[in-house]
């Protein structure tokens, strides 16, 4: 069974075709890297996969189940989690509160209006465990407004990891990080168990290549090249549209 199967997906914004007949098959446990120049339609593809945008035509299946018309929020309950290229966190809360919200999203407890959230120890312990995985447990109680950009990038990833996803979508997890921070995030992503399928958009080839099993190259909304890491990197069309001569 395929983890993520996309068939003939199309999306236009007015006259602009941002996703053109895209088909994609990602195996369970695979690490898929999606590359392409700016405006290639990578983030739009992510928004179609998560359901934040509805496609004009085509199908999306998650582990054999057609989710083309499943609302975005239900895809989270089916085991899909994502991070954002532009950091999308809860600025007024502490780090641990951010992670607790991610855990709460999949729990029926989220509808409870009478119990005290701070007294839900299972939830806060779970959140701390996730923070330990990303190396932020020592500053769990820090308000997000007082954290550095690199720490926020890791919170961004931790929120997705907290939901224990089957399919993890990472939108430029290395964006804006220093070399040291990139190494940290790389280690963090390498430690994700193989039960999780990972699809990642990334520009930083030096850190991203090491994570990828297969690579898909998008250009003007179309899949130009697809194959193993070595094959795509060696392909002349990759050099032409992306890596530069």
């Amino acid at each position: 069974m395929t983890a993520l199967a996309i068939t003939a997906l199309n999306k236009s914004f007015g006259g602009l075709r941002v996703t053109t007949n895209v088909s994609l098959a990602v195996d369970p446990g695979e690490r898929r890297l999606i590359i392409g120049p700016n405006g290639a339609g990578k983030t739009t593809l992510f928004n179609l996969i998560t359901g934040e945008l509805a496609p004009d035509s085509g199908n999306i299946a998650l582990f054999g189940r057609d989710i083309t018309h499943t609302p975005c929020r239900q895809r989270a309950h089916l085991g899909m989690a994502r991070t954002y290229q532009i950091i999308t966190l809860f600025q007024r809360d502490t780090i641990v509160r951010n992670i607790m919200l991610a855990l709460l999203g999949l729990s029926p407890l989220r509808w409870n209006a009478v119990r005290d959230l701070d007294a839900q120890h299972a939830l806060s312990l779970g959140a701390r465990e996730v923070l330990r995985r990303v190396g932020l447990d020592h500053i769990a109680e820090r308000p997000l407004a007082q954290t550095s950009y690199g720490e926020r990038r890791r919170v961004e990833i931790a929120m997705a990891l907290a939901q224990d996803p089957k399919l993890l979508l990472l939108d430029e997890p290395f964006a804006g990080l220093s070399i040291d921070e990139r190494r940290d995030v790389q280690q963090l992503l390498l430690a994700i168990p193989r039960e999780v399928t990972v699809v990642m958009i990334e520009h930083n080839m030096d850190v991203a290549l090491e994570l990828a099993d297969r690579i898909t190259l998008l250009h003007f909304g179309e899949v130009i090249v697809e194959g193993t890491r070595a094959a795509v990197v060696a392909d002349p069309r990759t050099r032409e549209v992306y890596l530069g001569a």
Binding site: F90, A102, L106, W111, A113
Partner: protein
């Protein structure tokens, strides 16, 4: 933990003052003013659920406030008892809130504001123009206040205590609500609606249920208002009522539990007390609001906490982590 913290002490003192207010204030005119403050505070607390915690600004809450009062007044006029009238009036308010929610939640921000404004004006139009139903400009008079458990509420202190109990119930339920997982979900939809959806939350339903909750307490406030005046007229449904309620929330401090209560106190005192001495009391109210917005843009309660702390730190010669401390205290 036998020693009381300053916070608990302040709460106990406030409770003691509120519970003994008719005894030390004496004059029933001022007891009535206190009742009015509590009634408006319930409405402001209800509106604050939307404005402060959901990030949805409504300019139609006078409609939800008045529809409960009008429904009860009509039912009482038709010969129903107080309990039946009150329960049915709250059901009518809930239904009206549901209609408000379904229509207004097609948008957020200014769109939400305009739709709630339009619906509030429709209800005002009905109250004002549909004279066969609402008695138009003359309004509806209610013969008597209820006497729960045989206790008459006709005197000012008795009505004050009834209002105080309802007010405390509203405050307690909201204190529990905002600390609950659902409350956290709600503020999450205010701050990052997109991420909340991706995390598996039903943002629309969270907002819908919150509007119902806000509508319910607005209806309760409307019932209290009806019984306080024993009269209701289209003036209550007017846009100025919605705007005043919003001013109470924003001036006191939206998204805080105590802010709307202080906001309600300022507006009611200005309208009733200051207006007796200064003809242009509206001008004074306006100046006060400008001062609040200028020096405490976050509202009177969180703003005072911030100024108090920075003053305290300045006294002790430390540099104050002003903004962080202020926002933390306003939770």
């Amino acid at each position: 933990m036998s020693r009381l913290g300053p916070r608990t002490g302040a709460w106990l003192l406030a409770m003691l003052l509120l519970a003994t207010l008719p005894a030390w204030i004496g004059n029933s005119y001022y007891v009535n003013i206190a009742s009015q403050i509590l009634i408006w505070a319930v409405l402001a607390l209800a509106l604050n659920l939307l404005v402060g915690y959901a990030g949805l600004t409504s300019l139609g809450h006078a409609g939800l406030f008045a529809i409960g009062g009008y429904a009860a007044a009509m039912l009482l006029g038709a010969g129903y008892g107080h309990l039946v009238a009150a329960v049915l009036a709250l059901l009518v308010t809930l239904m009206a809130s549901a209609v408000f929610a379904v229509l207004a939640l097609r948008a957020t921000g200014i769109g939400f504001l305009m739709i709630t404004l339009a619906m509030g004006q429709i209800l005002w139009g009905i109250a004002y123009r549909w004279a066969s139903l609402t008695n138009g400009d003359n309004g509806i008079t209610v013969a008597s206040r209820p006497a729960p458990f045989g206790l008459s509420l006709s005197q000012a202190p008795a009505f004050y205590y009834a209002t105080l109990i309802v007010f405390l119930l509203a405050l307690a339920s909201m204190a529990v609500f905002v600390r609950s997982p659902f409350g956290a979900s709600l503020t999450g939809t205010r701050d990052q609606a997109r991420r909340m959806t991706a995390l598996g939350y039903n943002v629309w339903l969270i907002r819908f249920l919150t509007i119902l909750c806000s509508g319910f307490w607005s209806g309760v406030a409307g019932l209290l208002f009806l019984y306080y005046n024993q009269f209701i007229s289209p003036q209550v449904v007017a846009l100025t009522t919605s705007a005043e309620a919003l001013l109470m929330v924003i001036s006191g401090g939206s998204g805080t539990l105590l802010g709307p209560i202080f906001g309600a106190a300022i507006v009611v005192v200005m309208k009733n007390v200051v207006s007796a001495y200064i003809e242009r009391w509206n001008l004074v109210l306006g100046v006060i609001f400008i001062l609040i917005i200028s020096f405490m843009p976050e509202g009177l309660v969180p703003g005072s906490v911030r100024l108090w702390r920075s003053g305290w730190h300045a006294l002790r010669g430390k540099s104050a982590p002003v903004s962080a401390a202020g926002s933390e205290a306003s939770r």
